[in-house]
């Protein structure tokens, strides 16, 4: 990728974190940027799809299903959303 990817604003990251925690039924302080949804938070693949769908719906994006493989933690979700918003 040669495109410059803008970092997400703090507000956008907070919004994303809130959505993710809501879906995974976790408190905000239980999740870090790098804690893994599946391994550490007991999320199954359907929850990950729900996260992807919520990103699309809330931020008006279209995300490729293949991006699911990167959306394993908050950092991954931030990156995918940042890339999609940069397009």
């Amino acid at each position: 990728m040669t495109t410059q990817i803008a970092d997400l604003s703090t507000e956008r990251k907070a919004e994303i974190k809130e959505i993710v925690c809501d879906i995974l039924e976790l408190e905000l302080d239980e999740v870090t940027d790098i804690s893994l949804f599946k391994e550490e938070h007991d999320a199954d693949s359907l929850r990950t799809i729900e996260i992807l769908a919520s990103m699309e719906r809330n931020f008006g994006l279209v995300l490729e299903q293949a991006e699911l493989s990167r959306m394993v933690n908050l950092a991954g979700v931030y990156a995918v959303v940042a890339e999609a918003e940069g397009k």
Partner: protein
């Protein structure tokens, strides 16, 4: 289940052999057994753009929709709006199966029967409609007629009401995409044990927005067509329809000189519940082995497998892996009629059982259409694109469902010439 060995008296009363003598099918490649059989032989495709609901916002939206079904043609007693679309399919299929078996509804009414219908969605199409009304019109604007028919019990109860059956057990089996095989299996048990004399069993589902959207969101809807076992397969097309099998004991069929499509040799179930949507290879292998054991056959006896074969990446690799686990390196030809009629959900394994019955009776194997290059990860001879003639003895019909609900049905060829020399103990367990 297993019979007594070598001369030992059986522990239980002799069981009845079970045969299929009538088929009722409503599909996107043809309604009625003749049209369906022609469609299977010709490798017809039911794929088309969805007309059942608004698909605005979806990048692609093909399905195997039925566009020529008129419930009034089949319903005599009930008003069409008393039944949702799935129940209409089921009732139409039952009427066809009864007529195809050379029976009248009075004949069926005179016997103790089981009506067992499998489904994934019940009348979710009506639920889509009701929720649409709630959203656009408000909470108190529900359509009472539609709300009354949502109960999935109507899939089987509708058949019972329409045919006026009285001495009947009425069951709707909600085991999703394996439900058709579950229902046929329950009919096999009820007839072989002597609980009933006849059974109308199968499955029904109608295209609905909820299920299309769910599969779409899972990334499992193919953009154009369904290509099972193909390297470029991209998923399912949702479908709809009903398959209803009229089953009876062998004595009953022979007694009335009925045409026999196939014998139900047995079935196997496995419920692993290990994942909501991902299939479990070991559990499927267990299910296949259980079916073979119940039918009293060996893997090497199987002439072809009608696979669940959805055309998703996950299903085809896992299913073929499980088949390989049981069969070793010598796999029988393994086809998927979902390439033609789409994934008809609760009707899928019932329609596939009807297809297997026709294959056994007429001596052909239906093709897997839309096939270009076989995926080495699920390498099977899928009878690509064109049906083949084949003398068949034993056929295996796989039904695999979300939640790890698996049901595998074994059907056998019925040799008409053998009926004259039927041994006196033919009712003993096979």
């Amino acid at each position: 289940m297993s019979g007594a060995t070598g001369g030992t008296a059986p522990h239980t009363a002799p069981r009845h052999r079970v045969v299929i003598t009538g088929l009722g099918v409503v599909t996107s490649i043809g309604t009625g057994v003749d049209a369906f059989a022609d469609g299977l032989r010709a490798g017809r495709s039911g794929a088309k753009p969805i007309g059942a609901f608004d698909t605005t916002g979806f990048a692609y939206s093909n399905a195997c929709e039925i566009t020529d079904f008129d419930p009034e043609e089949w319903l005599r007693d009930m008003a069409a709006d008393e039944l949702g679309r799935a129940a209409q399919f089921a009732v139409a299929g039952s009427r066809m199966a009864v007529a195809d078996a050379g029976l009248t509804e009075d004949d069926v009414r005179a016997r103790r029967t089981l009506v067992s219908v499998g489904t994934t969605d019940g009348e979710s199409r009506d639920l889509d409609h009701l929720i649409g009304l709630q959203v656009t019109e408000g909470e108190d604007r529900l359509d009472a007629t539609v709300a009354r028919r949502v109960w999935p019990g109507r899939l089987s109860a509708g058949i019972v009401r329409e045919l006026g059956l009285e001495d009947v057990e009425t069951v709707t089996v909600p085991t999703a995409c394996a439900a058709g095989n579950y229902a046929v299996g329950s009919g096999y048990d009820a007839i072989s044990s002597g609980d009933v004399e006849m059974a109308l069993c199968g499955g029904a589902d109608a295209l609905c927005r909820k299920t299309f959207t769910g599969f779409y969101r899972l990334g499992t809807i193919a953009p154009d067509v369904c290509r099972p076992f193909d390297a470029d397969r991209q998923g399912i097309l949702t479908g709809e329809g009903a398959g209803i099998l009229l089953m009876e004991s062998l004595e009953s069929a022979l007694g009335r000189g009925a045409r026999i499509y196939a014998e139900v040799l047995g079935y196997g179930l496995s419920c692993d519940a290990s994942h909501p949507v991902a299939p479990d290879r070991d559990s499927i292998a267990r299910c296949i082995t259980a079916a073979h054991r119940n039918a009293g056959i060996e893997a090497s006896d199987v002439d072809f497998i009608s696979a669940h074969g959805t055309g998703t990446k996950a299903n085809d690799v896992t299913e073929v892996g499980a088949i390989r686990q049981v069969f070793g390196d010598e796999l029988p030809r393994t086809v998927s009629i979902k390439s033609m009629i789409g994934h008809t959900m609760g009707a899928a394994s019932a329609l596939a059982a009807a297809a297997c019955s026709l294959a056994l009776r007429e001596g052909f194997i239906p093709p897997t259409i839309n096939h270009r290059t076989t995926d080495p990860e699920c390498a099977v001879d899928c009878v690509p694109n064109e049906a083949v003639e084949a003398r068949l003895r034993v056929v295996q019909n796989n039904g695999l469902a979300f939640g790890g609900n698996n049901a595998v049905l074994m059907l056998g060829h019925w040799d008409e010439n053998a009926t004259e020399t039927l041994p006196a103990d033919a009712t003993a367990a096979a």
